[in-house]
């Protein structure tokens, strides 16, 4: 008779342990943000639990998975004008891997009743999911396949072997192949539908998610160094913390980088086309007087340094040499792998001109006044109708801002149109997001002879404690900056109030939880990165020890529970003593009897043993008669005698 060893159900299968270790290692090595995938995994789990209520539970699951896959596909590729650029093989692989990871975790969870390693698999999968949500694509490419391999091994180990092996039949191929083909076909169809109706789905999804755009790995900072006006955000940004500012700011608009060349919806020059030189502390106004705000930058993002336009100066640590491009609008860069800290010197007044507000040179003036040829002539005419020829620059600026806010609406979905996107926005579609408003303001002001440039940066609004502000990737914003002779550069934000980041970010519980989770994982990774090698080793060892200890504890508990359930009333004292002696005898012979096997059966299994089986069998027969039949004094004496002989032999 085949018996199942009792311990195999409690000790987790070893591949599960390996999978857990790989996931820990990946977490330890990875760095990067984005909590959306663990959340997705949880959502999928919820879907599974719901789906399990159906008798034929697999159908809704399959369908939901396909929907999810299509949704991820649509959301991942949706922000680029050119789908193929956004949706390369790497992203596809990555997405599928995530969906599979989530599903495997759920499958592991599903094996509740028989699953020895289910907690281990579940835990490791969850950690892997966190680790997967990183920037380090190469790491995931290497770790994920290995992880899946062991996870599948672990799941297989959990499965009881089928009793009958079905012979191969062509019909099986048909009956199994047809649903698979249908599933694949349905998946392709759904994906295609997603692709066709992506804008609608995007809009619906954004509304459902509180009008905040979905995120994708790589779009952390929300700032594009070569802005292009598209149908959706250029880079919508994530909820990752970019900056934390302690102190007061003269202006919530944090100037990052500006552009003055426009061509068919694209702004230039690119970062690479600018001439960067080392910036001396004096040039950056490091010692300027005035109140200071301490900024911690978490994300490097090409070393971009953000500060209000009218900051009097920037102060960096002495061991750091920032760079800037004074001839090309002067963005300041300071490369740093870890978090970077710098001080912003707030200017005494709105018109104070600091390092971001270098006086306008003749070349720059020419560039900032150039109205590109592709701009519709009606835009020129419109601009002229807004302000008279005698109006001062500030009046013209006010007129343009008032016109744009009054006549155009904020929308996350923009129609790029067939020709020049800015002309089409001003004249026809009249609904778009901040990038369009900023570009339109620049063009209209240039038409009115006000030198204006396009600027990207952040809008700081989210409080963090008493006097600190947190800036996240999703706070990225675009606006215009105009030069007024005698005053200097001023911020021209023509985006309607409901389009500014402080208004678009909803304060729902969902987003709060998401942001907090994001902060936590980001902090955790930063913390791990700061550890010394010995400390990291200790951390991994500690986690391993916890895993080991938890398993030992579970084993012990399961044994206890078993002992409690399966305790039989002990036989009379003399018999108990005899039974214990006989068990001890078997142990001495190197053949301990498992608890689920009667002695006689055990003896017959140990046919090859060298010890005295005949005597042992005689003892067992006599013992059984006494134990389960009638116990009398002569039997007991005979039993004792028999055991004594056995022990002697």
């Amino acid at each position: 008779m085949r018996t199942t060893p009792t311990t195999s159900r409690i000790v987790p299968p070893w591949p599960a342990t390996v999978a857990a270790l790989i996931s820990f290692g990946t977490l330890y090595l990875s760095s990067g943000p984005d909590p959306i995938l663990p959340i997705l995994a949880l959502a999928l789990l919820a879907v599974y639990l719901f789906g399990a209520q159906f008798v034929q539970g697999m159908r809704p699951i399959q369908f939901t998975r396909l929907l999810l896959f299509g949704g991820i596909y649509a959301l991942s590729g949706g922000r680029q004008t050119n789908l193929m650029d956004a949706w390369g093989p790497a992203q596809a692989l990555d997405t599928i891997a995530h969906v599979l990871a989530a599903e495997l975790v759920i499958r592991a969870w599903q094996r509740g009743e028989t699953g020895g390693g289910r907690r281990m698999i579940g835990l490791s999968g969850f950690i892997m999911l966190i680790a997967c949500a990183t920037d380090n694509a190469r790491l995931i490419e290497v770790a994920a396949p290995i992880y899946f391999f062991f996870l599948i091994l672990a799941l297989r180990a959990e499965r009881p072997a089928p009793a009958v092996k079905l012979p191969f039949r062509p019909m099986v191929l048909l009956t199994h192949g047809l649903p698979i083909a249908l599933t694949l076909g349905t998946g392709a169809l759904i994906t295609q539908q997603f692709e066709t109706h992506r804008p609608e789905i995007m809009e619906w999804g954004m509304e459902a998610l509180g009008e905040r755009p979905p995120t994708r790995e790589g779009d952390v900072s929300g700032l594009s160094k070569s802005p292009v006006l598209g149908s959706t955000f250029n880079t919508p940004g994530s909820s990752t913390r970019i900056l934390r500012i302690v102190g007061t700011l003269p202006d919530p608009h944090l100037h990052g980088m500006c552009f003055d060349t426009y061509h068919l919806g694209s702004w230039g020059p690119d970062m690479g086309d600018r001439n960067f030189v080392d910036a001396m502390p004096a040039q950056l106004g490091a010692d300027a007087p005035g109140p200071r705000a301490r900024v911690t930058r978490f994300v490097n993002d090409d070393g971009m340094v953000s500060a209000p336009l009218n900051s009097a100066g920037l102060h960096f640590a002495s061991n750091l040499t920032p760079q800037w491009a004074p001839e090309d609008g002067g963005p300041v860069r300071a490369e740093s792998a870890d978090a970077l800290t710098y001080d912003i010197v707030a200017g005494p007044s709105d018109t104070y001109q600091g390092p971001f507000c270098l006086p306008l040179t003749a070349t720059e003036r020419r560039r900032c006044l150039l109205v590109p040829a592709e701009i519709d002539p009606r835009v020129q005419a419109l601009a002229q109708s807004l302000a008279g020829p005698d109006a001062s620059p500030s009046v013209r600026i006010e007129a343009v801002v008032a016109y744009l806010i009054g006549h155009n609406a904020y929308s996350l979905r923009a129609r790029r149109g067939s020709g020049d996107p800015v002309s089409s926005f001003i004249l026809e579609h009249k609904a778009a997001h901040c990038e369009y408003f900023a570009s339109a303001a620049v063009i209209l002001l240039r038409c009115l002879g006000v030198p204006t440039r396009y600027c990207i940066g952040y809008y700081a609004h989210e409080g963090d404690g008493a006097d600190a502000i947190v800036v996240r990737g999703q706070d990225a914003h675009a606006w215009a900056e105009s030069w007024i002779d005698g005053v200097g550069w001023v911020v021209v934000d023509a985006t309607p109030g409901n389009g500014r980041p402080d208004q678009t970010s909803k304060s729902s519980l969902w987003w709060k939880v998401r942001d907090r989770w994001q902060d936590f994982t980001q902090g955790l990774r930063a913390w791990v990165n700061r550890l010394r090698p010995a400390q990291r080793l200790a951390l991994i060892g500690g986690l391993g020890a916890i895993l080991l200890a938890s398993n030992v504890w579970r084993l012990w508990k399961a044994r206890q529970a078993r002992a409690g359930i399966f305790a039989y009333a002990a036989p009379p004292g003399e018999l108990s003593a005899l039974a214990e002696r006989f068990e001890a005898y078997l142990n001495r012979q190197g053949s301990p009897c498992p608890p689920d096997v009667p002695w006689r059966e055990h003896l017959s299994r140990e046919a090859s043993s060298t010890w005295d089986r005949e005597r042992a069998e005689a003892f067992v027969t006599a013992y059984n008669r006494a134990r389960f039949g009638a116990l009398d004094a002569p039997t007991l004496t005979a039993l004792q005698q028999s055991l004594r002989e056995l022990e002697k032999a």
């Binding site: 008779m1 199942t4 009881p160 009958v164 399966f566 009667p598 059966e601 059984n624 134990r627 039949g629």
Partner: protein, 312 residues
């Protein structure tokens, strides 16, 4: 064990051994079913000797023996019997059906309609028939030995678990080994050994043996062991239907019978282990996922046996 029981069992075993060769375990299980006072289901592929075993067992007992070949057009009245009008005397006369016998062989029970099946199964349980308001007691001992072929489903009405539950145990035969099959070939050269088979025991002998079985002692720990195995099946998630109390009782009674057959007046945990699969497996209802996932009821029982510690 009383010497009567030993004689009875010995005689029947010797008798059956002449016809059914190389299957002492199956013969023993059938005898356990008979001596426990239950009914036995023989299940295997065609041509393995199911009917031969059943017929030989029936012929070994000198009581009334009837055989019913189950066909799709069989009616309940064909089993239980019915009343006929006697025009000469002007009264209805009850003509007894084939169930009024000591041993009834229900051949290919799954080939008849559920209606007819239930008629037989009801009789099996109650030991009497009520027809036209009159209860008629069946002769004692009353032993049904049914056969069915589990693989050919075409044109059959498989018995549901509730009806399978009425059989105290299920015996499978399997193919004989090489030597025994050779022996079968040679022994049937001139005529079938079954033709020489004569009754060796009387119905009274069987009744007495059944009484003796009930006297076998079952220690509390053995009963507890039995119940834990049953409990283990009730909590198994792969089962739609765990074991019934009738199942527990059947295991209890058959364990007594096995002990008696072994010449013991006390039952051992080994009896429970040996009988768990034949007595319990056919009563289990697998859930759809397990059924199509290749799980067999036998495995579930075996697994439960591997989990529950044995009393010592």
């Amino acid at each position: 064990m009383s010497s009567d029981l030993a004689t009875v069992v010995g005689k029947i075993e010797a008798n059956l051994g002449r016809v059914v060769k190389g299957k002492p375990e199956s013969i023993r299980l059938a005898l356990i079913g008979l001596l426990s006072g239950g009914h036995v289901l023989l299940e295997d592929v065609p041509g393995t000797g199911k009917t031969m075993l059943a017929k030989s067992l029936a012929r070994s007992i000198a009581g009334e023996f009837r055989r019913i070949q189950f066909t799709p057009d069989l009616l309940p009245a064909d089993i239980t019997g019915s009343s006929f009008y006697n025009p000469r005397e002007g009264v209805f006369i009850f003509r007894e059906g084939p169930v009024f016998a000591n041993v009834v062989l229900a051949d290919e029970i799954n080939r008849t309609s559920p209606r007819t099946q239930s008629a037989l199964l009801e009789v099996m349980n109650e030991g009497q028939i009520t027809i036209e308001g009159l209860s008629r007691a069946l002769p004692r001992p009353f032993f049904v030995i049914a056969t069915q072929n589990p693989t050919d489903y075409h044109g059959t009405y498989p018995l549901p678990e509730a009806q399978l539950d009425r059989f105290i145990l299920r015996v499978t035969l399997g193919y004989p080994d090489f030597a025994h099959e050779m022996e079968i070939l040679i022994s049937q050269k001139e005529h079938h050994p079954f033709d020489d088979l004569a009754p060796v025991v009387t119905p009274d002998d069987i009744l007495q043996a059944q009484e003796a079985v009930r006297a076998v002692r079952v220690d509390a720990s053995v009963a507890e062991y039995l119940l834990r195995i049953v409990q283990a099946t009730r909590t198994d998630s792969r089962l739609r239907l765990g074991l019934s109390t009738r199942g527990s009782l059947a295991l209890y009674r058959t364990a007594q019978a096995r002990a008696a057959l072994d010449g013991r007046d006390y039952a051992l945990p080994e009896d429970i282990r040996a009988l768990a699969v034949p007595v319990l497996a056919h009563r289990l209802g697998l859930d759809t996922k397990a059924k199509y996932g290749g799980v067999l009821p036998d495995q579930i029982i075996t697994q439960a046996l591997g989990e529950v510690p044995v009393p010592r």
